[in-house]
């Protein structure tokens, strides 16, 4: 008998007895030995907070944690947006309009998310520049730098895929151009483009792919690389200032907590305050729904892609592959390989004129390209009026109240009757014969009988005639009565049902 009973006494003997009895904490402890774990968490927290920063805390070090904060903000606002968003070419634009114009705080949350993507690019550039100027990619930070480069690319991927999701004019056309760039790649370009678009043209499958990339695939990679980046950073330790006697630096070493934590928190506060003010006072816009038939539309990418966009203009078809692929690939490679090319231990930027000059040249060049593009857009007699027209169209759309979308099955029956005179006669037979009492006036069905929408797809007219005159056993069990009509009326009714697809 004892074999089958649960030995509570034994259980008590085996479980370690925590000191606090009868308290909730004690109860949880007995089941999780949480207090042991807490000690471990405590020591982990201590290890994190006591990370020594040579030379002390500094405002120059806030960008990394600022990026982490922004990423978190994007994840949270993104999760909330999906509450109303639908990645369908039919509904995406309506749902974004619904979020922007109707849902309480919707415009604000979408604003934080949309402006947040720009903020990430800005803080990313500051972070990279600080790392570059401080020479913090040197020594044993090579892998740390490479993980950062991957994160940079992933972030650009996030903003590119997110841009399409509202499915308005600028989203559609900017992505059309953006994906077309892939065709410059020799041999596999066309295939790559089709792979990304889910076909040769932009459409529903493009939106599905971009959505999955934006909310599942790229974020998963970002998470992995953020963990790797932070881990490698802690492994290498903080780089500290670019100059100073080792002895003095050691003296001024401070733990991460509290001063640096305070700086980081203040920077996060500054970021969220800026985003909040922008989202509130300059609400993010949505243009009219994508219209692929529009031949006038002049697409412009998001501001941080404008320099690249301008760059593409300078390359005629013969040399395009050099300008569009070879040079950017070379610059990208140069960037990633920086710690392998610049191996001297020297960190002070004024002693590294070549590296700093190249870096400055690239960024000043990008800035100049952006400025040229902006000036061209203002001066071009064809472009400027069209861009003004597009902005006006956005304003008009934003001022219009939200227009809900007509749901699928609504009035299918009535519409069919309106467009097809024979079906219209058939609808009269349907109404007169009392079919609607069970199948519903709009054919949507009721508790008593199934919907008839789509019945025309399921059965041909011969089959329909036979089951109307003599319902199947299953139909008869459900309460369906045989239809007793004159031949021509039956034909009209069948024509109506056939039309309801």
């Amino acid at each position: 008998m004892a074999d089958h009973t649960y030995d509570f006494e034994r259980e008590r003997r085996v479980t370690p007895q925590p000191s606090e009895h009868g308290t909730l904490q004690g109860w949880i402890d007995r089941r999780t030995s949480l207090s042991d774990r807490r000690k471990r968490v405590d020591s982990l927290l201590r290890a994190v907070l006591d990370e020594p920063i040579p030379g002390g805390a500094s405002l120059a070090y806030v960008f990394g944690s600022g990026l982490l904060f922004l990423f978190l903000s994007q994840v949270i606002t993104g999760m909330f947006l999906v509450l109303y968003y639908i990645p369908s070419a039919d509904h995406a634009h309506t749902t974004v309009a619904y979020i922007t114009k109707e849902v309480t705080s919707g415009s604000f949350i979408r604003g934080i998310h949309a402006y947040g993507s720009s903020a990430i690019v800005i803080v990313l550039l500051l972070h990279v520049t600080q790392t570059f100027l401080f020479g913090s990619y040197k020594g044993r930070r090579k892998l740390l730098w490479i993980a950062g480069c991957v994160l940079f690319a992933l972030m650009l991927g996030m903003s590119f895929t997110g841009y399409l999701l509202p499915w308005d004019q600028k989203a559609y056309f900017a992505t059309t151009v953006g994906t077309n760039i892939l065709t410059y790649i020799p041999f596999v370009g066309g295939t790559l483009k089709s792979l990304l678009r889910g076909g040769t043209e932009m459409g529903q499958l493009t939106l599905s792919r971009f959505f999955v990339l934006h909310v599942l695939l790229i974020p998963a990679f970002i998470l992995f690389f953020v963990v790797a980046h932070v881990f490698l950073f802690r492994r290498a330790g903080a780089a500290g200032p670019i100059q100073g006697e080792p002895e003095a630096l050691k003296k001024s070493t401070e733990p991460f907590y509290p001063k640096q934590v305070l700086f980081d928190a203040l920077f996060a506060l500054l970021i969220i305050a800026c985003l909040g003010l922008l989202a509130h006072y300059a609400p993010v816009e949505l243009g009219p729904k994508a219209n692929p038939a529009d031949t006038q539309y002049v697409p412009r990418p998001e501001w941080y892609y404008i320099p690249v966009f301008q760059w593409l203009k300078y390359w005629e078809s013969g040399l395009a592959v050099i300008g569009i692929l070879v040079i950017p690939a070379f610059v990208g490679l140069l960037f990633v390989a920086l710690p392998f090319l610049d191996r001297r231990p020297e960190r002070r930027p004024w002693k590294r004129p070549v590296a700093v000059s190249i870096y400055a040249f690239i960024f000043i060049g990008l800035g100049a390209l952006g400025a040229i593009s902006h000036r061209n857009d203002l001066r071009d007699l064809n472009i400027a009026p069209q861009l003004a027209k597009q902005r006006a169209a956005v304003d008009v759309f934003m001022k219009k109240p939200f227009q809900p979308e007509l749901a699928g099955p609504s009035l299918i029956a009535a519409t069919v009757a309106l467009t097809n005179p024979v079906a219209s006669e058939g609808k009269k037979v349907y109404d007169r014969e009392g079919c609607a009492e069970c199948h519903g006036n709009d054919l949507a069905g009721s508790l008593a009988a199934p919907t008839l929408i789509g019945v025309g797809d399921k059965y041909d007219n011969v089959k329909l005639e036979s089951i109307l005159i003599k319902p199947t056993d299953a139909m008869a069990d459900g309460g369906m009565l045989p239809v007793d009509l004159k031949d021509e009326e039956l034909k009209l009714l069948i024509a109506f049902l056939e039309a309801v697809k």
């Binding site: 020594p52 949350i109 044993r140 609504s410 009035l411 029956a413």
Partner: protein, 195 residues
């Protein structure tokens, strides 16, 4: 000047880890915990503030007032001139479902009393919601589901329904009968609007 060889971290001197044990610059424990408290409280306050729009965003459908159903046309008054028994008419009603708009047709019965005044009934049975139909030969409404019966002016004659057919508000404008279609609660003795 800080030079360091390959493999040696910038700034992190060999005894930096030791420095973190000695903590010459580390503030006293009480100052640390007060700061921690302030940081935690500040963070919690700002976090709570930031979550307000998120809550409002989620709760939008809960607090949004349901749109009242609009008045719809049920036909020309002169079409009902020769009416002696209730006639079925379909009215289109518009409902909101989040970002969607549903348009559906609902059946009503239009009746004329002895003085010639028009009235309209919902065809939904107040028992369990089946559609009632008019039977000329028996001169009454019969619900096909549980055999509830109603007179031509909608009064309960027999069967399980708790009340008579639900009268809809209606009026005549420009020679047209306009009806305010509404849904009513089932299984209660008095008419109660639900949407």
């Amino acid at each position: 000047m800080l030079d360091f060889p390959e493999g040696m971290p910038a700034g992190k001197t060999a005894d930096a880890s030791q420095a973190s044990h000695d903590r010459p610059n580390r503030p006293s424990l009480s100052r640390r915990s007060l700061l921690g408290l302030l940081l935690g409280a500040g963070g919690a306050t700002i976090g709570a503030l930031l979550s307000v729009p998120l809550f409002r965003f989620v709760l939008h459908p809960v607090f949004k007032a349901a749109l009242p159903l609009s008045w719809t046309e049920a036909g020309d008054v002169k079409d009902f001139a020769s009416v002696t028994s209730p006639v079925k008419r379909l009215v289109k009603i518009e409902q909101r479902d989040g970002w969607r708009k549903l348009v559906s047709e609902k059946a009503i019965y239009v009746c004329k009393d002895a003085t010639g005044k028009l009235s309209a009934f919902s065809s939904i049975c107040p028992h369990l919601g089946c559609s009632v139909s008019w039977h000329d030969e028996e001169n009454n409404f019969v619900c096909p589901c549980h055999n509830g019966q109603f007179t031509a002016d909608g009064k309960l004659m027999g069967g399980p329904p708790p009340r008579g057919l639900d009268l809809l508000e209606c009026k005549v404008e420009d020679g047209k009968l306009i009806v305010h279609y509404q849904y009513f609660r089932q299984l209660v003795p008095n008419k109660e609007v639900i949407a």
